[in-house]
Symmetry: C2
Subunit: 325 residues, 2 copies
């Protein structure tokens, strides 16, 4: 990370802050499918990007996984639920209750299929729980790629996939970072502080004697902007490639190996090879496969089959952290 390194020797404090703000980290909390086992939790992962924590899916046991993986629970302000198969959301009501019991008062944003709203509120009503915080519930739209959240640093998109019930994938991407200041040049041209922000955004600089200094002389290229795609659950569905085109890292389900391709088709899941075909067609940077059928204790066969198509593939496992930098 050049930006951090440049300042490291002189401004340790700044470096730490920048490192925090600029990290893009994914923690796999669960990469199993259908039923939790004693060694593999159902789907859940946390994306920590630009000081935002986003939980994607929330299978049973997710709140314990959050604790075990030392994720700061109350930093999670956005929860994306891909679909209403239990292994992707049965842990949500428990997490919401725990937020409440721990005194949360910050708003929470949930993006999920419409039916989840009644499920959540029905359970809160049964226990006479009146949450101390507000939930903003936004129903997913299952047609087309949709921008579901945006702020000054990131964008989150949903897009439909193909499964036995309606399901969305998600794409979380950083907006373009500001250009990095060339401190030597800034000092040499005596650029006033109040113009620094516009220069970071790409503006040129006019000196007092009317000379135009091109931005490229005052700045370095910005840090790369990263993006993360999440595709689970889905059958092999090449149409989703345009929604995750060239993303830095793609998580794609790989419930089965080649030997069960027929079963994958029947159950509307993917094989590891099919996940890799999507990664290749979408030209992503790296593929992470997961959502393994419980029948696989040795996952090397899935990895091998994926790598034959897309070399830069890794296996998800519970507790894995992927740091983009």
């Amino acid at each position: 990370m050049p930006f951090v390194h440049m300042y490291k020797r002189h401004f340790l404090f700044l470096t730490i802050i920048n490192f925090t703000l600029m990290s893009f980290e994914v923690t796999i909390l669960g990469c199993g499918s259908a039923t939790p086992t004693s060694h593999r939790n159902p789907s859940a992962q946390v994306v920590q990007v630009q000081d935002r924590s986003i939980l994607i899916d929330c299978g049973e046991g997710t709140q314990v996984q959050i604790r075990k993986n030392k994720i700061r629970m109350q930093k999670i302000n956005h929860i994306l639920i891909s679909h209403l198969h239990g292994d992707h959301y049965f842990g949500l009501i428990g997490l919401l209750s725990t937020f409440h019991l721990l005194g949360r008062d910050k708003d929470l944003h949930i993006y999920a299929p419409e039916d989840l709203k009644d499920i959540i509120y029905g359970q809160l009503k049964a226990s006479k729980t009146y949450l101390k915080y507000t939930i903003h519930f936004k129903s997913l739209n299952f047609s087309g790629k949709n921008l579901i959240f945006e702020d000054k640093k990131i964008e989150i998109y949903s897009f439909p996939m193909r499964h036995s019930i309606e399901v969305c994938g998600f794409l979380i991407q950083e907006k373009t970072h500001p250009r990095k200041i060339n401190r030597t040049a800034i000092d040499a041209f005596e650029v006033p502080t109040y113009q620094i922000n516009s220069i970071k955004e790409g503006a040129n600089f006019s000196t007092d004697d009317g000379r135009e200094v091109l931005n490229s002389k005052l700045t370095f290229e910005p840090n790369p902007s990263f993006s993360y795609g999440y595709c689970s659950d889905t059958s092999y569905y090449p149409e989703l490639c345009h929604s995750i085109k060239k993303c830095t890292v793609l998580y794609h389900e790989a419930t089965f190996g080649n030997e069960l391709e027929k079963l994958a088709k029947q159950t509307k899941h993917s094989t590891a090879k099919q996940a890799a075909m999507i990664a290749e067609q979408a030209e992503v940077g790296q593929l992470v496969i997961g959502h393994y059928s419980a029948r696989y204790t040795d996952l090397s066969i899935l990895l091998t089959e994926a790598k034959e198509v897309f070399e830069n593939t890794i296996l998800a496992k519970d507790g894995l952290r992927i740091i983009l930098e």
Copy 2:
């Protein structure tokens, strides 16, 4: 267990069968309260009695606890849910789904507050799941002690307690065991095989020459019948003592220590001392305390406070097995 021991040397196979049939075993799957932590699961326990497996409460993560504790999942045919606070039932929908995914076709009996029915069926509908097995849902009645299940070996009762929402405690008790055959006497009096069952039930025997042989000469005392009381969650509520009078083992919540008696009252929970007072008044055989507030990492203070009132107290912990014999 005299009956088992008597046959041990000669009939190993019989001994094993009898041991299985006659055991009364409680496995604590979770003894935490409110929120699961990485070292304590929310409320759930399995009572295995006379070859029946009964699950009491089903907090989040129970199905994984069932696996970890090597309980045979599909043997569970009865589930009792005390009340609709999430730490007592959020794991139920996941367990029901797993039963289904594993191909269960045996009926399941659930005894729970009425509202749970809609919660369960709402979630099954959202995932378009049509269970392969039948659930018999029986709503709990919150007034008086009620026999909610009975077969030839056991009885299960519910009874109301006092909490912030409606809640039932449960009592599982064995019916009186048949008297044990005195093989030497049976052989000496040449009792025909077809009369053995009635003799086990207490009948006398008439010999061919008209002599009446008293049952006490043909049999030994039956094995003792055990009973198990479950009281969680409840404030200190002495009225419940008559429902669990003289039970062999009582599990009673002890969310707080003496120093938080006021908080216990406010939140309608009990202190360890109050749990012990219930045990003493109900004249139970042994007290197991649990449902600890997450603030207690060292539980010795709770044990000490309970033991000052009722000496035969032990601490529940996840994975504890209590075998009555």
